[in-house]
Symmetry: C2
DNA sequence: TGTCAATTGTCAGAGGCTGTCATTAGCCTC
DNA sequence: GAGGCTAATGACAGCCTCTGACAATTGACA
């Protein structure tokens, strides 16, 4: 944050992002136009598009941070951990540290509300899912390197990540639609779901 | 297909769909405007939107058929099969019968080419993923009923489907980017991936 | 054949997004 | 600290997706 110019840019971006999220969570994503956001921040519509590739990018900026944060967490896992255990620990610790990461930009409460907007807005959910898939590719690469296997010939890295990703997305959805909408609840749901993957894949459920 | 009116409608819809897919696969999805499609079929742009909710819906019409077909296949699985086995059999048989289902509307070759367009066009991929997630919810419901469990208290139906869906989406992607782009190759990939889910989730991969 | 209803075309307009060009404002050197 | 340089912004103009409204057309049916 050296020059005045950069500080101004930073402030404009943050104002746009904060305002956008505020409007999205109050009037809904579709109910908010880019003009609404630009007007509220008192910049031209054109300027908005110079900071964000589109409305969607502003709406998913926090999710983007979450993903980056999670990727880093996976990279920092001790090498002796088994792949799935490394992923598991990365998410759990991730949820802990995320609070500070988010709070540095916007109130966490806004993040949580925005999560529900994403989950309940078809176009946003679609974009979110696509980004998740892209993240999975990156994670698979990290795992492959950790374990010293070749992703092009060994499908296990991508498979493990696909399974893990499937479970995590289910967890996200359950969380955002449940009543206890806190990071602690997310932790608990994550643990519970990962514990039950085995049973869910077992022979039959009726013998229980 | 009783009245002349209905026949005309059917023909218009098919012409729009076929033309749309043809253009998408030759000029790309983004490179094709709705006007291009409407003009080629000699219909007003407004009419296109009376048949398809949007450009996207036309592009994913075949995938929609595939999903519906797969859902039906799952429903028809014998009740004694374990959940994952029922899903597995449904996909495998699904790929067999799909040929006829598609060919009734457009050449299968167009379907295959369109698959690659979907996979390589961000907005289409995003929409496709969202639809897949919606389909997963429906499948979970079918499984829960088969097994006589309550989806609201037992996470296993959704978990099993999430895992299965994750694997299938990975399979789709590998398939569409591989060189052997046939339904047989898809079958083989499906079998192979499902076989390796277990190993991928096991402790460590280095002991191999 | 004439009435009714469904299908379509035309027009107007909102909203997302991009290219272009002039204007403004911070930065840096002499 | 004046002037030149460059980055940031604003102001248009325009394309594309999608929707509502109304008129014109065309098949259905008595």
């Amino acid at each position: 944050m050296e020059t005045l110019r950069e500080r101004k840019k930073q402030r404009t971006r943050e104002a746009l992002l904060r305002t956008a999220l505020e409007l999205f969570t109050t009037q809904g994503y579709e109910g908010t136009t880019v003009d609404d956001i630009a007007d509220a921040v008192d910049v031209s519509q054109r300027t908005f598009f110079r900071y964000f590739a589109g409305k969607e990018e502003a709406a998913l900026a926090l999710q983007e941070m979450t993903v980056a944060h999670f990727l880093q967490a996976v990279r920092e896992r001790p090498p002796h951990e088994a792949p799935m255990e490394a992923l598991r620990q990365a998410v759990l610790e991730g949820w802990d540290a995320l609070n500070d990461v988010i709070e540095a930009v916007v109130p966490v409460e806004l993040y949580l509300r925005m999560y529900q907007v994403v989950e309940s807005t078809p176009v946003l959910l679609a974009a979110h899912l696509r980004r998740s898939v892209e993240a999975e590719e990156a994670i698979a690469r990290i795992l492959a390197e950790r374990e010293g296997v070749d992703m092009d010939t060994d499908p296990r890295p991508r498979l493990a990540v696909a399974v893990f990703g499937g479970v995590m997305r289910l967890t996200e959805r359950q969380w955002s639609s449940g009543e206890d909408f806190s990071l602690d609840a997310m932790r608990a749901l994550t643990v519970s779901h990962l514990e039950q993957v085995g049973p869910a894949l077992s022979e039959s459920w009726r013998t229980r």
